[in-house]
């Protein structure tokens, strides 16, 4: 895993260009502490910060082809590089290294911009074609690795993290109110946006070609896609056959992700997905099954008992990080410095602290179960939508809405504890049953509560903004022809997964401590397999991830196999108070004076929320999310905007 940065624009003196690249790449040292590399060619500059994982001896970047007219820097892993390399060698390409990076330049020579379609991996790539004088940026299919870019000062700039862009273009340190409104609604800024005005992320599954004259071509090479609703499924004769095929596919996805020249570990949450990954690592003959997990004091969040059961079952060498609320509150600014976006949850912090433990234990790479819930239909949101649709077909039924009572059993203050109230809440928006965002309306309704705290002039600016309609306009027309579950999965993959989980709970917290996460469930072959499945093989009745459970039968203990999904969460606003007193930086950042000076929020409203939280009266999601969202935005202001202005 690594960091990349660079630019394309008018030629500069080589020494000046290299100095610019150095200023950028130094900000990404945490992503690649094992050395820097640079390439300058006229107006193009590439920089690389290396975390050595594969080919420790000769894998330094940038790497060029035989004729040294195609150069690349890349962050990530190409898991199928061995087979690609063998094929390219058969076609006459000569390799100078044993790295996965080198296949990129030779594949580009063979296939041009379509090289990216051949890669199975998690990557952000910058490639300079010196002959055609064009810069190519590409990002993996699901958005595991980040890549930002911006046009400023006559150049096109790119980098793994926004801080590298700010290092050379400090004028970009401006918050975009629209990006903020998106983050407060959808949990993260929606592609291609960011919360920094003008800075764009390259959307997952996209390639951007920038010609020397500045012309740009953005193309999508992959997307989540589903069969039309009602189309006959002919691929599998039976559910058993599909389960068997899935088991083989998952085993291969894990096997490919065991390639490394450094020791590998795994995260073990105690749930089905990470347990499956660890068991498949063991089955694939991993040299060690070194595992790591998080434990909490609060029973509502803690899954230690299940983690320990799995540790005993597999005989793993295991480390548990006991994460206190105080530790979360104190480390929160560090998370925001890495995430570079407001967040509505603190859950990234324990993952960042866990990455630190992994690093201290001498490990660089961990496999995790990330993505399984999006791919195989694991979230309560999918089941909630299923019940609401079932109910909407007979709105007068007294019994159908009672199924809501089977959801959210893991929450202390469950929204379904009182049936009549739950029905009243979840029964709203039923007229939008055919809308692609139907499933997400309750979640986004709660999140949007945070917008209430914006300063009056910002609120006025988004007064006419209808986030549901805005988001629906961005969806592919084909979504209307997919099954309801497929629609829900697509929206979840593009919002929760790509805009929040992968950056703010995935890449950034891990890279804060130079740890590379690998996600077998997001192998595009697994995603494509799952997307082709009939909906009722994913959620059967009210059993989530039905086919996945079937595929894993015999591999996991029965109680893990039968466990109902418990989403990973961490204590939120309570992490920032000790005996009713705020942590020092929280008191400072949320003081009326600081809030007014920053100008993003209504100081009086924030003061009321602060008091409510301080007295332990904020028990619902909406207030917790608003508090964490406001605090993280104030940290963005403190860490990025004020510093740039100073």
């Amino acid at each position: 895993m690594c960091g990349i940065a660079g630019f394309l624009g008018p030629p500069d003196a080589p020494a000046a260009a290299q100095a610019t690249l150095q200023r950028m790449i130094r900000t990404l040292h945490h992503r690649g502490p094992d050395g820097y590399g640079f390439h300058v060619d006229g107006g193009a500059g590439l920089a690389h910060a290396r975390l050595a994982v594969i080919d420790l001896a000769t894998g330094a970047q940038p790497i060029a082809n035989e004729r040294r007219n195609v150069w690349t820097v890349f962050n990530g892993e190409i898991f199928n590089y061995r087979s690609l390399r063998a094929e390219l060698q058969r076609r006459g390409h000569r390799f100078a290294t044993a790295s996965d990076t080198e296949v990129i330049v030779h594949l580009y020579e063979e296939h041009g911009d379509r090289f990216v379609e051949h890669l199975n991996g998690q990557f952000a790539i910058a490639l300079w074609d010196a002959e055609r004088q064009r810069l190519v940026l590409a990002r993996d299919r699901c958005g595991v690795r980040p890549l930002y870019h911006v046009r400023a000062g006559g150049r096109h700039w790119f980098a793994s993290e926004i801080k590298a862009l700010l290092a050379v273009r400090p004028e970009l340190a401006r918050l975009d109110p629209q990006g903020l409104a998106q983050a407060f609604t959808f949990w993260g800024p929606i592609e291609p946006g960011s919360v920094f005005a003008g800075v764009e992320c390259l959307p997952p599954g996209h390639l951007l070609a920038i010609e020397r004259d500045g012309r740009e071509t953005l193309s999508r090479y992959w997307d989540w896609s589903f069969p039309e609703q009602g189309a006959p499924q002919r691929r599998w004769q039976s559910v058993e056959q599909a389960a068997g095929e899935l088991r083989e596919l998952l085993a291969d996805a894990v096997r490919l992700r065991l390639q490394a020249d450094v020791p590998l570990g795994a995260y073990l949450s105690g749930g089905l997905d990470s347990s499956a990954v660890v068991a498949l690592m063991r089955e694939a003959g991993a040299a060690s099954t070194r595992t790591f997990s998080i434990a909490f004091d609060e029973a509502e969040f803690d899954e230690s008992a299940h983690q320990q059961a799995m540790v005993r079952h597999l005989g793993c060498e295991h480390t548990t990080l006991h994460c206190t609320r105080r530790a979360i509150g104190e480390a929160f600014p560090q998370l925001i410095r890495h995430a570079e976006a407001p967040v509505l949850r603190t859950a990234g912090v324990p993952l960042m602290l866990l990455a630190q433990q992994v690093r201290q234990a001498g490990y660089t790479v961990v496999l995790t179960g990330e993505g399984a819930d999006e791919v195989f239909g694991g979230y309560d949101l999918f089941k909630e939508a299923k019940v609401r649709r079932f109910w909407a077909r007979q709105p007068d039924s007294r019994f159908r809405p009672l199924l809501l009572g089977r959801l959210y059993g893991y929450l202390e203050n469950s929204p379904v504890r009182h049936a009549a109230l739950a029905q009243s809440f979840f029964g709203r928006g039923m007229e939008g049953i055919d809308r692609p965002v139907f499933a997400h309306v309750p979640r986004w309704t709660s999140s949007r509560h945070a917008l209430r705290f914006l300063a009056p002039e910002l609120r006025a600016g988004i007064d006419g903004w209808d986030p549901l309609a805005w988001y629906e306009q961005r969806l592919p027309p084909a979504i209307a022809r997919w099954s309801p579950l497929a629609r829900d999965q697509y929206v979840e993959a593009k919002t929760l997964l790509a805009a929040y989980l992968l950056p703010s709970q995935g890449d950034r917290p891990a890279m804060a401590h130079s740890i590379e996460g690998r996600f077998p469930f997001l192998d595009h072959r697994v995603v494509e397999f799952a997307n082709a499945l009939p909906a009722h093989w994913k959620i059967r009745g009210m059993t989530e991830k039905y086919l996945l459970r079937k595929a894993l039968a015999g591999l996991l203990p029965a109680d893990i196999l039968a466990r109902t999904k418990q989403p990973y969460r961490a204590p939120d606003q309570s992490s920032f108070f000790v005996d009713g007193e705020p942590l020092d930086y929280v008191a400072d950042l949320l003081s009326a004076e600081r809030i007014r000076a920053a100008g993003w929020f209504d100081a009086a409203a924030v003061g009321r929320l602060f008091e409510k939280c301080r007295h332990g009266r904020a028990i619902g999601f909406a207030d917790n999310q608003a508090f964490v969202g406001i605090l993280s935005t104030m940290l963005i202001d403190e860490l990025f905007l004020r510093r740039a202005a100073a």
């Binding site: 203050n413 109230l421 009243s424 809440f425 949007r448 009321r608 929320l609 009266r617 619902g620």
Partner: protein, 88 residues
């Protein structure tokens, strides 16, 4: 008694404005407006209101009384509190 009802109403309004709307602008809270429809409370927000009512007015809300019609507007909440107090 009108005075007592007015006092209940004032306290309920103050609580909702301060803790759920985070505002001192009373015009944001018409007494007959649906708190659920306006997104002022969700189903856990109702639990906060119930905790407040039990604490402030010394009543006990039974599970069977956890109904939207009791808590979906200032008027409904005031009526509910008055009913409870008259029974007590």
């Amino acid at each position: 008694m009108p005075t007592e009802a007015a006092s209940v109403e004032a306290r309920v309004r103050h609580y909702i404005l301060e803790n759920l709307l985070f505002s001192d602008d009373g015009s944001e809270l018409p007494n007959d407006a649906s708190l659920l429809d306006r997104g002022i409370i969700d189903s856990t927000g109702v639990l906060e209101v119930v905790m407040f009512l039990e604490e402030a007015f010394g009543i006990r809300v039974k599970a069977s009384e956890m109904l939207p019609e009791n808590f979906d507007s200032v008027n409904n909440i005031v009526r509910f509190v008055e009913r409870q107090r008259s029974v007590a």
